[in-house]
């Protein structure tokens, strides 16, 4: 281990020792208490001495029908499959290899700072323990047509992973992070992804979290955007007993824009927490955000969207929406759309709603012969699909739609069956 990496590891340990596991007395963790759930997974396991996970032969990685992608598979915290051939100007390496060969690049990924650790101490833990991850780099001007698919499946242990996405000037890529630990499998996933978007670069980022309902998932996506770059993020949270995603976007140079789409579906006793921060640091940046949630059972979801317009960020244009549908009287939503503005020449709006299906829409459908259940099913699905419609990767969108639909508490659970059932009314 190089001195630089050792320093990063030590700093991670120190920061974690200082800030520890986040608790509800911290403003950013007011509604989410992970202390008890995380305890079994905290046992000290330094990345260099920890034993590699046994690789079960039947480790089931899901397939995404109709998706032609460069595929990377990660089991626990080991990259076990890498794409064979990559176009020129594209490099995909594992963090484990970077740690051995290119410590400067690896150090950049393990560079947890005080601020981040204050927000979430598990980022520091990640810096101290992340053994592996996927680091994607696109040279200037490279436009990658096929998406990059990073699939993760875990066993009943803690996986600390750290991914890096580096897009050069005017580079374009679609990256899909899929967390698909099968049901019943306990454990703890702690992922930090860091992305750098060069001038004029464009990144479509999909984060599909469909982990086991027995698992805890803590994630962070940190994006730094340069001049005129574009980010289109789709954060989907379906699984996990407790899940949390901190999505932080830094608009560091003029003309950068981001679009954050989010969907969270919770049921049973799930707890899903989404925190987003958009930092408008410079003039003339644009941000759009829409998160939607559907809550059932005794589940609880948290949305906290923060937009900060720094002094001097002239001409900032920001909009944020959060809409929630409560299907059960035992479910709870805690939403907090925050605006912090230190400049006058800005246009910012935000909104949050919690409500039910529109009676008028239900009536419209009933009047056309749909049963009450059918009408509710359709409208609830449409509520979620409004966010998914902005995802321009049809195979992934189709998969998410099917998964989301199956989670809704209506009969059948098959999207195709529902759609064909509707054909009679067409």
């Amino acid at each position: 281990m190089s001195a630089l990496i050792r320093e990063m590891r030590q700093r991670g340990e120190q920061l974690f020792a200082r800030h520890g596991v986040p608790h509800p007395r911290l403003e950013h963790w007011k509604y989410t208490d992970i202390r008890r759930a995380i305890e079994p997974w905290l046992a000290d396991e330094s990345p260099e001495t920890g034993k590699p996970a046994p690789l079960p032969e039947d480790a089931a990685f899901p397939d995404i029908d109709g998706l032609d992608a460069y595929r990377i598979r990660v089991l626990d915290d080991h990259v076990i499959e890498m794409p064979q051939e990559l176009p020129e100007g594209v490099s995909v390496v594992s963090l484990a290899r970077l740690l051995a060969d290119e410590d400067v690049r690896a150090a950049r990924l393990l560079n947890a700072d005080e601020q981040e650790s204050l927000f979430n101490g598990l980022v520091a833990l990640n810096a101290a323990r992340a053994r592996d991850g996927v680091v994607v780099a696109l040279a200037d001007g490279i436009e990658l047509e096929r998406p990059i698919l990073i699939q993760h499946v875990g066993t009943a242990r803690a996986s600390h992973l750290c991914h890096g996405l580096e897009l050069g000037v005017n580079a374009r890529a679609t990256v899909i992070e899929q967390y698909a630990t099968p049901d019943q499998v306990e454990g703890f996933t702690n992922v930090v992804s860091r992305a750098w978007l060069g001038a004029g670069a464009r990144l479509v980022h999909v984060r599909l979290q469909q982990e086991s309902m027995a698992r805890m998932h803590i994630g962070r996506l940190d994006v730094c955007q340069h001049r005129d770059s574009e980010l289109s993020s789709h954060a989907i949270a379906l699984g996990g007993r407790i899940s949390r995603l901190d999505l932080v976007v830094n608009l560091n140079e003029s003309g950068a824009s981001c679009e954050l789409n989010g969907l969270y579906l919770t049921a049973g006793r799930q707890h899903a927490d989404q925190h987003t921060v958009i930092e408008h640091r410079v003039p003339h940046c644009r941000s759009r955000e829409e998160y939607r949630g559907i809550l059932d059972g005794r589940s609880r979801a948290v949305f906290n969207g923060r937009v900060v317009v720094h002094e001097g960020a002239v001409g900032t244009d920001s909009e944020q929406r959060n809409a929630n549908l409560l299907l059960s009287d035992r479910a709870e939503i805690d939403t907090k759309p925050e605006l912090e503005i230190y400049h006058d020449d800005v246009r910012c709006a935000h909104g949050a709603t919690v409500g039910q299906l529109d009676e008028a829409q239900l009536f419209y459908m009933r009047a056309r012969g749909l049963s009450d259940a059918q009408a509710r099913e359709l409208l609830t699905f449409a509520f979620a699909d409004e966010v998914l419609a902005r995802l321009d990767v049809p195979a992934v969108r189709g998969l998410i739609e099917r998964l989301a639909f199956a989670k809704l508490p209506y009969a059948g659970g098959e999207l195709d069956a529902m759609l064909s059932g509707l054909e009679a009314f067409a």
């Binding site: 002239v314 479910a331 939503i333 605006l339 006058d344």
Partner: protein
Amino acid sequence: MSVRPEDLTAKQYDAGFVTDIEQETLPPGLNEDVIRHISAKKNEPAWLLEWRLEAFRHWQGMQEPHWAHVQYEPIDYQSISYYAAPKSRADAPKSLDEVDPKLLETYEKLGIPLREQEMLAGVAVDAVFDSVSVATTFKERLAEAGVIFCPISEAVQKHPDLVREYLGSVVPQSDNFFAALNSAVFTDGSFVYVPKGVRCPMELSTYFRINASNTGQFERTLIIADEGSYVSYLEGCTAPMRDENQLHAAVVELIALDDAQIKYSTVQNWYPGDENGVGGIYNFVTKRGECRGARSKISWTQVETGSAITWKYPSCILRGDDSVGEFYSVALTKMHQQADTGTKMIHLGRRTKSTIVSKGISAGHGQQSYRGLVRIGRQAEGARNHTQCDSLLIGDQCGAHTFPYVEVKNASATMEHEATTSKISEEQLFYCRARGVSEEDAVNMIVNGFCKDVFNELPMEFAVEANRLMEVSLEGAVG
């Protein structure tokens, strides 16, 4: 744009002057003896002294909160004097004629002459000069209707059962740091009781003034609207120009029983400090109302233009079924003023409704935050909330922030939150200028339009005052 923040900051404080009246003041410091002294001075019953001491013991174990989006030098609670009474208290005035002429002059300078007030459209005034109420008018007409409206110290003597039943029932002694402090040392404030089925024949109003240097003022207001009654209470205040920061930690408790309505309006124009951010009042207030009965309604309206720091969240606990809570607010921060204000709407009863309209205007180096909580409890079937909070920014040094907390636990509840932030648009100004409206008038017009939804909720007397206040406050905004 020609609205220059530096012009705004140069706006002088019109109500800055000091009335020279001899004061009987306790030496600075706070301990149990001071509380015993205050209690003894007021000839209070033993239970109240015990209640104060309990609060004080709570307070000693509490930490001053720092979560608000404001910054200030630490307050030394031992350097504050906790009691000041005008000397003339000994032979308390029986009528206005007996009131110290200098005192009356003070009110006249503020544009609220008591004599005129008396003749004006049925407004009874319970004027608080520092800590002891010195003049109360219209008592008789109120008494006819059975309404009790008096200083709380008098209520403690005359209506101890009522005070004992309701005091601290909405804001308990240990509620928060400043409420605990207030419970321990409050010196005076207003007490209102409106009996069953009575519609209070006039609007009740109190003018607060902080006068003695270095004296914190700890008001305690308690308003009880019994079944089916209605009362509208007006509160307004200005304070003289001072360099030292003055702490104001008031507590207001409202209780509305079945079918009762309380309307509480505030115009607050305390000394905001000078253009360098020196001095000014620290306004750390706990205001809370409880709709205890079914179909009751509590409405808060506030116009906040003064104080160096405002930290205030008038709240409604909607306990009764079908009860209604409202919050209308205009807050202006200029120069180095900071405000962290908003409301809490706690929906507990079925079909409870709440409306929040908050308008923030930030200019100069002003920092303003809306912080609100809407909580819809498990039992609050069919609860409804609508929140709208808009900010207007004038100048590139100011800030406007929004921190709305929404917690919903009932699937049949509906809540909406909307917020926008913008500056006065060049197009709007140009439109007005092209039609011969001066820039200053145009800004006033736009600001007044921006605040209209809230001003409409004010009683007529206050609406006029509020409009004038905004114009005066924004004077010099145009160069």
